[in-house]
């Protein structure tokens, strides 16, 4: 079998593997920076905005406690 075939398969598998690994590691470091559990993404920015303005801070996932009554 021509060596080009193995080369082709090897390149495909290696690249996809490396990319998948990079996704996983980038996600781990992002979570560590956030210091949160593996929770789903937080409320959308607009929603977060409203909570923040009226200082409710009702424990939306990922949003830590904000000083009330700004």
């Amino acid at each position: 079998m021509s060596p080009y075939i193995e080369a082709g398969y090897a390149v495909v598998l290696a690249t996809l593997g490396v990319y998948a690994a990079s996704l996983a590691s980038r996600e781990r470091s992002a979570r560590r920076r956030l210091g949160t559990k593996a929770s789903p993404p937080a409320a959308r920015p607009a929603q977060l905005e409203r909570q923040l303005l009226d200082g409710a801070g009702d424990g939306a996932p990922g949003a830590d406690d904000l000083e009330a009554g700004a």
Partner: protein, 244 residues
């Protein structure tokens, strides 16, 4: 307990992994050599066309979500993140399309690159979407970045058919030997057809899994920015109180 969505993503991930391994195993060892393709070159057909197909799907998804973002009623930052994620995965697969394409060309015509319409278009797309990704990375107000990127994705995708037709016209003038990559006119033995189909399905699943993970990564980044924003507004307020 991870939500239903992330469990679904994990499931897709495993399915993709199993599918890819099966395709490789079938493609390299089980399926027979095909007539007309010297020393087993047909086996690249299980890998190369799916790469091109997934790249095209990825850019189509980026185009669609950009359109949805631009349409005022359906405007939502999640579409912007989806477009970015899909385009990034698309660039990875486009790169692989080019590599496997030239690996195909080398033994067949003794040259790394033939100006074949499909490959040339893919090369142009590779550069085009690298530009798109570069544009996305330029810092700025989230809405501004999203708006810019959506329009760039719009332009890039509209360019695909234009480039393809102009290149194929151009190539047809030179009548160079171009083997039809999708191997349509190749007599496809039973097991080969299944392997090819498996290749398409499993690489598409791989694309779906990667895009989902990249999307979640983008959401985390946004969440991190929002934390910063909340902090910034609180700080800004403190600046006010100190003077009052």
């Amino acid at each position: 307990m991870p939500s239903l969505r992330s469990r679904l993503v994990t499931l897709v991930g495993w399915l993709a992994l199993v599918g890819v391994i099966a395709t490789v195993w079938l493609g390299l060892f089980v399926t027979p050599d095909a007539v007309g393709f010297p020393d087993g070159l047909v086996r690249l057909l299980y890998v190369h066309p799916p790469m091109a197909w997934v790249a095209f799907v990825a850019y189509g998804m980026a185009f669609l979500s950009s359109l949805l973002y631009l349409w005022p009623r359906t405007r939502d930052m999640r579409f912007d993140r989806l477009a970015g994620a899909s385009a990034e995965v698309g660039v990875v697969f486009t790169g692989l399309t080019l590599v496997t394409g030239s690996l195909w060309g080398r033994p067949t015509w003794g040259v790394w690159w033939t100006w074949d319409p499909l490959l040339t278009t893919t090369a142009l797309l590779f550069v085009l979407y690298l530009g798109y990704l570069a544009l996305r990375r330029v810092p700025g107000d989230p809405e501004a970045v999203a708006g810019r990127s959506a329009i760039a994705a719009l332009i890039a995708f509209v360019d695909v058919p234009v480039v393809y037709f102009s290149v194929s016209w151009w190539r047809s003038l030179h009548q160079a030997p171009t083997v039809d990559f999708t191997g349509r006119h190749l007599y496809v033995h039973g097991s080969m057809a299944w392997t090819m189909l498996l290749g398409f399905v499993s690489f598409t699943l791989a694309y779906a899994w990667m895009t989902a993970r990249r999307y979640r990564l983008a959401s985390l980044a946004v969440q991190q920015e929002d934390e910063g924003l909340a902090h910034a507004i609180a700080e800004r307020r403190a600046e006010g109180r100190v003077l009052v």
